[in-house]
């Protein structure tokens, strides 16, 4: 079944802050909501669907309280940093079935100014599977690093190939005035940075920043009255992957299941995609995601990312905002993937604009690749 342009992104905002000791996470989310609604030509009175993640407890109730809204649909699906992409997919369903008309997705975080060691604090919690993990000191970066190690073993992937991903996205960050790190880096810089969890170096890892954002999704009918041209959600796939009771190979990831669904719904192929936004928690995440999405064969990722293919001007410009390793990563980056893809499709990206961008793919990987992760693919297109 095709989505048939039933719902569109009509408002986006990425909060400019990367360091906000003077703000609360709720404030960042709310300021982002205000700006995204203004971008769409709407107000909070129009919102009748609300989606969020990264807020503990009764997340929608807490945030609806703060925003002072009473929506008809609420959803706090929490599958890691990609959650917001799942929210967008769920918003399409809610809108298509008439349960709501204007869906607001928000995110806010002060991870950096509150000194949250996002990637190295160790997993926490008391859920059933974690008793077999916590005593061993698994960290987020460690869980991805184990996948990278296996990838190198199976396919001969090198640290220099992984480093090229970080170098390419830093070049994009140079063009993004809001990016946290804008000094160009080289492959040698990445390889010379200290190892956090082998084989991943410091510069293979996403940064920690403050930040947030908001996205507004509405019906086709309502989209025609909005301030900006609609960016259609043409296809969506979501799932969660886990160790499969001990049988997983750690090279296949959620993207291998979500991409065929999203492409089929959109009725497009890989060659049609003009740019990608790939959740770059770590360099290895990007390489494995591109393989699992089907842009290249499993194991060919090292060669695929070489030669500037992912750079602006390359065959598949990716993470044009600079991504999570350079621009911002407040803990859950998924919402920024939709925001940058939308801006690219609207032609609003200035120096980092992909020429004549008509179709974009966003894929978020949340959680920990080597234990449990969520994955969501969205395919977005303009008129």
């Amino acid at each position: 079944m095709q989505f048939s342009r039933q719902a569109a992104i009509v408002g986006v905002h990425e909060h400019e802050t990367r360091w906000a000791p003077d703000k609360t996470a709720f404030q960042i989310a709310t300021e982002s909501a205000r700006a995204a609604l203004a971008d769409a030509g709407l107000t909070s009175n129009d919102v009748d669907g609300y989606f969020t993640a990264g807020v503990d407890g009764m997340a929608p109730a807490l945030m609806c309280d703060h925003l002072n809204i009473r929506p008809k649909v609420v959803d706090s699906t929490s599958i890691g940093g990609t959650s917001f992409l799942a929210h967008a997919a769920h918003a399409v369903s809610a809108i298509a079935t008439g349960r709501c008309e204007v869906a607001l997705i928000t995110y806010g975080s002060t991870a950096a100014s509150h000194s949250v060691a996002v990637g190295t604090r160790g997993r926490y919690g008391v859920e059933i599977p974690e008793q077999y993990e916590l005593p061993y000191g698994v960290t987020t970066v460690g869980a991805y690093a184990m996948c990278a190690q296996r990838h190198m073993y199976e396919f001969g992937t090198t640290s220099a190939q992984l480093a090229e991903i970080a170098v390419t996205f830093r070049r994009h960050a140079v063009l993004n005035p809001y990016a946290k790190y804008r000094e160009p880096i080289t492959v040698d810089d990445v390889l010379a940075s200290r190892v956090i969890s082998s084989p991943l170096h410091l510069l293979d890892c996403c940064i920690i920043s403050d930040g947030g954002g908001a996205v507004v999704v509405t019906s086709a009918a309502r989209a025609r009255d909005c301030a900006k041209p609609p960016v259609w959600i043409l296809g969506a796939g979501e799932t969660v992957f886990h160790p499969e009771a001990g049988k997983r190979d750690f090279l296949r990831m959620a993207a291998s299941q979500t991409a065929p669904i999203a492409f089929a719904q959109a009725g497009v192929t890989h060659d049609d995609i003009d740019m990608c936004m790939i959740y770059d928690s770590f360099s290895i995440t990007v390489m494995m995601t591109l393989e699992n999405l089907g842009f290249c064969k499993l194991g060919d990722g090292g060669a695929f990312v070489s030669g500037g293919r992912l750079a602006l001007g390359g065959a598949l410009p990716t993470n044009t905002d600079g991504g999570g390793m350079s621009s911002n990563h407040p803990g859950m980056r998924g919402i920024f993937l939709m925001i940058e893809a939308t801006k690219q499709l609207r032609g609003e990206c200035g120096e980092r604009q992909v020429p004549d961008c008509k179709l974009a793919l966003a894929h978020g990987t949340g959680g920990a690749l080597g234990t449990r992760h969520g994955g969501v693919t969205l395919i977005l297109g303009r008129d």
Binding site: Y132, G137, M146, S197, A245, F250
Partner: protein, 140 residues
């Protein structure tokens, strides 16, 4: 008892036989009697067919490293004072390829390789809990 200021497993009805076996320094896994599947982590319904007819089976404790990472940075108590350490998955002998998350110990972290033969070893952390770790296979 070893000094242990890392997180401890919280025994529950599904995990108790596993941890009790570890306390005896024995590594047990479950196998479904309906479909034959070996699996880990422990649970009282088979993750392949949801049968409750599952049985505990004793393993040799041997295996090989499937993948690993040498952890150089960890912000958590109990770990930050013991860097670097090796986190890895070990593929367990006699289980048709079941992998278990663990630490590889009693060797230089930088000497660990994928495919390396390892054997289980247990660290007693209190009266009830012994944690299964793996060390390089000895030559004997």
């Amino acid at each position: 008892m070893a000094e242990w200021n890392k997180p401890l497993p919280q025994m529950d009805p599904e995990s108790k036989p596993f941890w009790e076996a570890c306390r005896r320094h024995e590594l047990y896994l479950q196998q479904c009697q309906a479909c034959g599947t070996h699996y880990y982590y422990p649970r009282q319904t088979c993750p392949a067919c949801l049968s409750s007819d599952v049985r505990w089976v004793k393993l040799s404790g041997r295996g090989q490293v499937y993948t690993f990472t040498v952890t150089y940075q960890h912000a958590g108590a109990g770990f930050r004072d013991h860097l670097p350490f090796v986190l890895g998955y070990v593929e367990l002998e006699g289980t048709n390829g079941v992998k278990m998350l663990t630490n590889i110990v009693d060797c230089e972290p930088q000497s660990v390789t994928i495919g390396m033969p390892v054997q289980v070893t247990f660290v007693d952390v209190n009266e009830e809990i012994a944690i299964p770790l793996f060390k390089p296979m000895s030559d004997e």
